[in-house]
C-alpha cells in the first residue's frame, strides 16, 4: 500500500497522487502491480463544466450569426421591420441571460457587460434601421443612468466587498460619462437625457472619491501594479 508522507496516511488503491492533498505517493507494491481500489472507477455521466462550455459557445455562435444575418436585409428594412425588431429582441434577451449566468458571481462586472452589450446592440439596431440616432440620444444615456442607479442599489442590498466592486463600479460611472462625449461631438438629437446621465455620473464620481478615495486608490494601485 502506498503512503502519503504529507498527510501521514496509507492510501488504498491505484492512486498515483494523494486524493486529499495531491502530493505524489511513496512506496511501491511488492509485485510492481498497483493494488486494485476497493471502489470501481465510475465514468462521468456528464461533465457540468463541459456541458456549460459547449452550451455557451454554441449560443454565442448563433447570436453572432443572427446579428450578421441582419446586414443582408438592410436595404428592404421597411418590409420586415416588425419581424426584425422581434428577432433582435429575442437574440438580445438571450445574450443578456447568457451573460447573467456566466457573470452571476460578480454583479458589478455583469452590470458593465450589460451596458456594453445593450448599448452596442442598440447602436447596431439603429444603424440597421437607417440611423436616426435614437440609440445615442435616448438608449445609451438611459442605460448608463439606470445601471448607475442599479449599481448603487446592488451595493446597498448585498454587502459586497469594497475591493470587489470598486473597479467595475468605476467603469460603470465612466461609461455614464460617454453620452457627454457624444453630446459634445454633436451626434445626439435631444440633449436632455445625455445631460442628466452625465450629471449623475459626475455626482457619483465625486461621492466615490470623497467617501472611498483611499480604497479606490489602493485598489487601483493593486490592480495596475506592474
Amino acid at each position: 500500500m502506498r503512503t502519503c508522507t504529507d498527510c501521514d496516511l496509507r492510501v488504498e488503491g491505484d492512486w498515483e497522487r494523494c486524493p486529499l492533498c495531491g502530493s505524489v505517493l511513496h512506496g511501491a507494491e511488492p509485485g510492481g502491480q498497483p493494488e486494485p481500489s476497493p471502489y470501481p472507477a465510475v465514468p462521468l455521466r456528464f461533465s457540468r463544466r463541459r456541458v456549460l462550455r459547449v452550451l455557451t459557445l454554441t449560443s454565442l455562435g448563433v447570436i453572432a450569426l443572427s446579428f450578421l444575418a441582419q446586414l443582408l436585409f438592410r436595404h428592404d428594412a421597411e418590409s420586415l421591420g416588425a419581424l426584425r425588431t422581434v428577432w433582435l429582441g429575442v437574440v438580445a434577451t438571450w445574450l443578456v441571460v447568457l451573460m447573467a449566468v456566466s457573470k452571476r458571481r460578480n454583479l458589478a462586472k455583469f452590470i458593465v457587460y450589460l451596458v456594453l452589450a445593450a448599448g452596442g446592440m442598440s447602436v447596431y439596431w439603429d444603424y440597421l434601421t437607417q440611423w436616426s440616432a435614437w440609440s445615442l440620444t435616448y438608449m445609451v444615456p438611459i442605460l448608463c443612468a439606470a445601471s448607475i442607479v442599479g449599481l448603487l442599489i446592488t451595493v446597498r442590498l448585498i454587502r459586497m466587498e469594497l475591493a470587489d466592486y470598486v473597479v467595475y463600479s468605476g467603469l460603470t460611472v465612466l461609461l455614464g460619462l460617454t453620452p457627454i462625449v457624444f453630446l459634445s461631438l454633436g451626434w445626439v438629437g435631444v440633449a436632455l437625457p445625455s445631460v442628466i446621465c452625465g450629471a449623475l455620473s459626475l455626482a457619483v464620481v465625486v461621492l466615490l472619491l470623497t467617501l472611498r478615495g483611499g480604497a479606490v486608490r489602493h485598489e487601483l494601485a493593486t490592480r495596475l501594479h506592474l
Binding site: L9, G13, P19, P38, A41, L44, R45
Partner: protein, 492 residues
C-alpha cells in the same frame, strides 16, 4: 387483478421523497469487506433468501393525492457488480423500482437504501441477514448448529429489548449518550443463534402490511400514549431556545455530474476510543468536535465567532422498543461558537456532549415522538394534497439545511452473528449529502469514517486525517474517483 397491499408513508419518511434532489438522492450505503472476493452467485442466492424474510424490502414507492405510499410488488432484486457511484439515485418518480440495491466489488458487498424505506438500523438488520445467509453458503462447515432458515429476533424487539438507557451508563453524561449509538449489544449473535421463536405462519400480505407500518405506530400499539406520555407543556421549558445565530455553512465546487464525493478513513477503533475517553466524552461527540476543527482550519470564511452546527441522529429503538425496520430516529442538533473561550477539540467535545446529553433523554425524546404523532393525526395535515406537502416539506428541509454546517451519523459498534463475524472485516457507512457529512461504523475493531460531500474539495477530510494521525492514530484512506482530473482516462 391482484389487489396490492399498501401502507402510506408517515410524516417522518415523507421528508425524503420531498427533499430528494439531483445532488442529494437521499440514499445511504452500508457495506462490508469480506476476507475473499465475493461470489456473485452465492450472494444472489443469499439475497433471495433474505428478501423473502424482509417483506418491507418488496415495497415500491408510489405517489397518492395526499400521501406517498409503499406498495407491495413482485419485483425480484438482483445483485450487480458495482458500476455506479456511491449512493446513486434509487427512487425515480413514476418508475416502479425496488428501493434498495445490493452491489459487490471485489471483496466488498454494499447495500444501498432509499431513506424513505428505512433508516441505518433497519438497513443493518437486512445487511446482517444477507451476510449471514451468504457466509453460511460460502463456508457451509462453519454454520452454527441448527442454522439454516431460522427466524431471527431482532435487537430492540419486545422479546428482548435493548437495555433501557438508565441501566447502561454508570454516569449519565458521556457513557449513556454513547450507548445510545450502540446499535447492537454484544449479544447480537444471541438473537440469531440462541433463543429462536417460531412465529405463527402468516401470509406474505400480512407480513408486508405489518413490516411496512411506520415505526411510531408500532410503538404506539405497545404503549398507551395517553397514560405513558406527559401532557404537552409539563416540562417543555427547554423549548425556549437561545436566539438563532448565523450558522457557518461550507461552500464549494459541485462535482462534475452531481455524484456524491465519497472518501473513507479507516483506523483501529481502540486508540480513538482512548482519545475520547481521555477527554471524558463519547466518541461521537469527540469525532464531531474534530469535524468542526477540520472545517475551521480549511475554511477561510470560518472566522472567530463563527457558529458551527451539526445534526446527530439518535436511534429511538433504544428507548422505545420497536421491531419496525422503518425510519425510527430523531435528530439532535448541537452547535459551538468559536472564539468564546477554549476552542480545543476536547473542550468543544465536552460542551457538545453536555448539550447532546440533555436532549438524548427518554423524556425529551418522548415529547418529540408525541408531537410527531399529533401532527400525523392533525386533520389539516391529512387533507393537504401531496404536492403541497412536498413543497412545504422541502421548504422545511431547506430551512433546516441553512441551520447546519455538517451532519454526523454513528451506527456504533456492530457485531455480526457467526459465521459472518469471522469473515467480515471493516464495514462502511455513507450517506448522500448536501453538505459535508461523516458516518461512523465500527466492526472487528476497525472504525470507518465515511465522508461524503457534494463538493470536489477534500481539504476538510485532509485536516481531519491529519488531526487523527497527529494524535498517533494509524489511518488509511480509500477513495472513489470523483473529479474530472481523477477520472481522466476512464472510458465511459
Amino acid at each position: 387483478m391482484k389487489r396490492r397491499h399498501w401502507v402510506r408513508l408517515d410524516n417522518a419518511s415523507n421528508i425524503f421523497p420531498a427533499a430528494r434532489s439531483d445532488v442529494d438522492p437521499k440514499v445511504f450505503r452500508l457495506g462490508a469487506e469480506l476476507d475473499h472476493e465475493v461470489d456473485p452467485g452465492l450472494l444472489q442466492e443469499a439475497l433471495e433468501e433474505s428478501f423473502e424474510r424482509f417483506p418491507l424490502y418488496h415495497a415500491v414507492l408510489r405517489r397518492g393525492v395526499f400521501w406517498y405510499y409503499l406498495q407491495d410488488s413482485d419485483l425480484q432484486p438482483e445483485v450487480r457488480a458495482e458500476a455506479e457511484q456511491v449512493c446513486a439515485p434509487l427512487y425515480q418518480a413514476d418508475r416502479r423500482t425496488l428501493l434498495f440495491r445490493v452491489v459487490h466489488h471485489r471483496r466488498r458487498v454494499s447495500l444501498e437504501v432509499f431513506h424513505a424505506l428505512s433508516d441505518g438500523t433497519g438497513a443493518l438488520w437486512f445487511l446482517t441477514d444477507l451476510l449471514s445467509a451468504y457466509t453460511r453458503r460460502r463456508f457451509p462447515g462453519e454454520a452454527p448448529a441448527g442454522g439454516g432458515d431460522a427466524e431471527q429476533v431482532r435487537p430492540g424487539a419486545s422479546e428482548r429489548p435493548d437495555p433501557p438507557p438508565a441501566r447502561i451508563g454508570t454516569h449519565p453524561g458521556a457513557q449513556a449518550a454513547e450507548e445510545v449509538h450502540e446499535l447492537t449489544q454484544d449479544s447480537f449473535a444471541h438473537y440469531f443463534r440462541g433463543r429462536r421463536r417460531r412465529r405463527e405462519p402468516s401470509s406474505h400480505e400480512q407480513d408486508f402490511t405489518r413490516e411496512a407500518a411506520p415505526a411510531v405506530l408500532t410503538v404506539e400499539e405497545a404503549e398507551d400514549p395517553e397514560d405513558a406520555w406527559p401532557e404537552e407543556g409539563d416540562q417543555d421549558s427547554r423549548s425556549s431556545r437561545p436566539p438563532r445565530r448565523r450558522i457557518h455553512r461550507v461552500r464549494g465546487t459541485r462535482t462534475p455530474d452531481n455524484r456524491t464525493h465519497a472518501l473513507e478513513l479507516s483506523m483501529p477503533a481502540a486508540p480513538v476510543l482512548a482519545l475520547a475517553k481521555a477527554e471524558g466524552v463519547a466518541p461521537t461527540m469527540f469525532l464531531t468536535a474534530l469535524f468542526f476543527e477540520a472545517i475551521r482550519r480549511t475554511d477561510e470564511s470560518a472566522h472567530a465567532g463563527a457558529t458551527m452546527a451539526a445534526s446527530v441522529p439518535v436511534n429511538l429503538r433504544q428507548f422505545f422498543p420497536s421491531t419496525s425496520a422503518r425510519n425510527f430516529f430523531a435528530t439532535i442538533r448541537v452547535e459551538h461558537t468559536f472564539g468564546q473561550g477554549d476552542d480545543a477539540p476536547g473542550a468543544v467535545a465536552r460542551r457538545l456532549q453536555e448539550a447532546f446529553s440533555a436532549e438524548a433523554t427518554p423524556e425529551a425524546l418522548e415529547r418529540r415522538l408525541h408531537r410527531l404523532i399529533r401532527v400525523e393525526r392533525w386533520p389539516l395535515a391529512r387533507i393537504v394534497p401531496r404536492p403541497v406537502k412536498d413543497l412545504l416539506l422541502s421548504l422545511i428541509n431547506q430551512a433546516n439545511n441553512r441551520s447546519l454546517t455538517v451532519a454526523i451519523s454513528n451506527l456504533g459498534r456492530v457485531t455480526l452473528p457467526a459465521p459472518a463475524q469471522a469473515h467480515v472485516g471493516r464495514m462502511q457507512f455513507h450517506v448522500s449529502a448536501v453538505r459535508p457529512q461523516f458516518c461512523a461504523i465500527t466492526h472487528d475493531g476497525q472504525l470507518t469514517l465515511g465522508f461524503t460531500s457534494p463538493f470536489v474539495e477534500t481539504a476538510h477530510v485532509r485536516e481531519y486525517a491529519r488531526l487523527l494521525t497527529g494524535a498517533g492514530v494509524e489511518v488509511s484512506l480509500a477513495a472513489a474517483r470523483t473529479t474530472e482530473e481523477e477520472l481522466a482516462g476512464v472510458d465511459p
